[in-house]
Chain length 339, copies 2
């Protein structure tokens, strides 16, 4: 398998990107990497050239660039060339830590949607707190600000495939994020989405779930519109961060006794941080396009790059996208036959 | 000032309600309480009859009742009688820990909206983490699932009045919850709300704010649609709860050393819990109706009842609602004069 890497995307590029790839190249000998970016800058961090190809380019998309315009005009940007390689079948997946909007645009305009998917969405894998082997998927966390019930219903099928193929969850429970658990709850969009989900035979729909229950593992896949999903994901991040700050204050601003307590709990606290660090489950997948397109945080470190490569490896290895393509093709065919 | 109390609302009613009122009656000698509910059950917890009137009724609204139907049909329910007293000017404010939907309905249908407010919303006061004297208001946290930009703009004026009059914040910063800080970010509703807010001369609009920054005190008042506000509030609650569980596990599941550390940090951890307990800032205000209508959690304890009475006292004392009524009347008059 071949992964096209935007080596210049993100705040710590190319160093963090290349160092992460170096970690992955050792582990996954079946992956070939094509790195797009400034060759000289990339070579500085290259410790092993096995399975590595560098495609030099001076151009790159900046974080402040207008996404659509940048993808259209900067034809030689590292991200655009990497996307083009996937479109041209020279690579099987695209990885970038760069401008999120630009990556969504490149995924949509260059790589293209799976037939039958109207709006690809962003899927993340988050930890279930209190059970360290469990995770859940949340989708869409912000690819689309305005979302139709039909889109949410497609996220459910997509998310369900991800949970089964990539995470190995059998018959994953799919919940609809809503402001109450009763069937009639919600706004206009979620009420209509509920009806579609209840009739979606591709999934194991468990009904509405509330945001309060997300981290307790109420469902394996939780679907929502991209605006709300974005707000919920950022609220989880912000609240967890604030709580870590509170713990720090509790230890450092309460005298010697508290400081000693903090010292004794040091290992426990760091394993706690580890639970919360969801980068180890990989990056955000632009799911619904014809190949794995994965984004990690702009401030990503090499470890997160490595974890994301592992995730892409699992996506390619499981053929989740091929299966989705077949699924939607069959669906269309049977719809035509029924007419 | 007189407060009409639904003594039968909530899981711990009437005990928690009456005991909380007993705490408040000592502190606020200028408040008269009218308690609606089963007289015998109420009297069991009454330790002081000063400024207390009981209006007996056998009927009450249950948590599983359909809100609109219950308010329409159960004419003698404790909550309905209390709301009617406010409408009839026999009381100045309404307090209940009962069925939220029913309280919203009673507020809207019996007490009625302030002229100029299309949709009252629910406002809560939340802590700023890391600065224990600071708080912020979030509105709407769920009164309306489908919200128009005009509603959000009215929440901004309402929230701004609350922050000024009740919390004493000068020129409060009002932010719009959005999925990015740039002006052009958001979904269709927030994009249009942004324009209205930018032209709202009643408020100090500081632009879009992201959910990640809420608990750091990015703004004094944050406005959003009721569906998203509800999701964000529940995500904060769920994440904070999960983190407290993580801390507990960190202490109890990591051997003697960690347990000892936990013991040394006991006081610090409990002050941390105290920071997170936002019931001390009062309940959720159904803001935009003609009198203070306040709801606390169904599982409320006497302390939360006491804090909510304190909040109602501040609302009545500051005449925030009278001022809002005048404000919207003047606005209407000047609009007519301009024609």
């Amino acid at each position: 398998m071949k992964i096209a890497v935007d080596a210049m995307g993100g705040d710590n590029a190319p160093q963090a990107i290349v160092e992460g790839i170096m970690m992955a190249v050792k582990e996954y000998q079946d992956i070939e990497f094509i790195l797009y970016g400034k060759e000289e800058a990339i070579r500085k961090y290259l410790t092993d050239e096995t399975n590595i190809t560098i495609v030099h380019t001076d151009e790159k998309i900046m974080s402040e660039d207008d996404p659509v315009r940048a993808v259209r005009r900067k034809k030689n940007a590292s991200m655009v060339l990497a996307a083009q390689a996937v479109k041209d079948k020279k690579a099987d997946a695209l990885f970038s830590a760069g401008n999120t909007g630009a990556l969504l645009t490149a995924g949509l305009l260059i790589i293209g949607r799976i037939k039958g998917i109207d709006r690809p969405g962003l899927l993340v894998t988050l930890p279930v707190i209190g059970n360290e082997n469990e995770t859940f998927n949340l989708m869409d966390v912000g690819a689309n600000a305005d979302t139709k019930p039909e889109n949410i219903n497609q996220y459910a099928t997509l998310g369900s495939y991800y949970a089964q193929f990539v995470r190995g969850v059998k018959n994953p429970k799919v919940g609809l994020l809503n402001n109450g658990t009763e069937e009639n709850k919600g706004n206009d969009v979620t009420k209509r989405a509920y009806q579609l989900l209840a009739n979606n035979t591709d999934i194991n729909f468990v009904g509405n779930v509330e945001a309060r229950e997300l981290l307790s593992g109420i469902a394996d896949v939780v679907v929502t519109d991209g605006y709300t999903g974005n707000a919920v994901l950022k609220t989880i991040e912000g609240t967890a961060l604030s709580m870590m700050k509170l713990i720090k204050n509790a230890v450092y601003e309460n005298g010697v006794k508290a400081k000693l307590g903090g010292l004794l709990l040091k290992d426990s606290f760091s394993s706690m941080k580890d639970v919360l660090d969801y980068s180890k489950h990989g990056g955000a997948v632009l799911f619904g396009v014809k190949a794995p397109v994965i984004k990690t945080h702009g401030s990503t470190e090499k470890e997160a790059v490595y974890y994301t490569i592992r995730q892409i490896h699992e996506m390619l290895d499981s053929h989740v996208i091929d299966d989705l393509v077949h699924h939607f093709e069959e669906k269309e065919a049977s719809a035509i036959l029924k007419k």
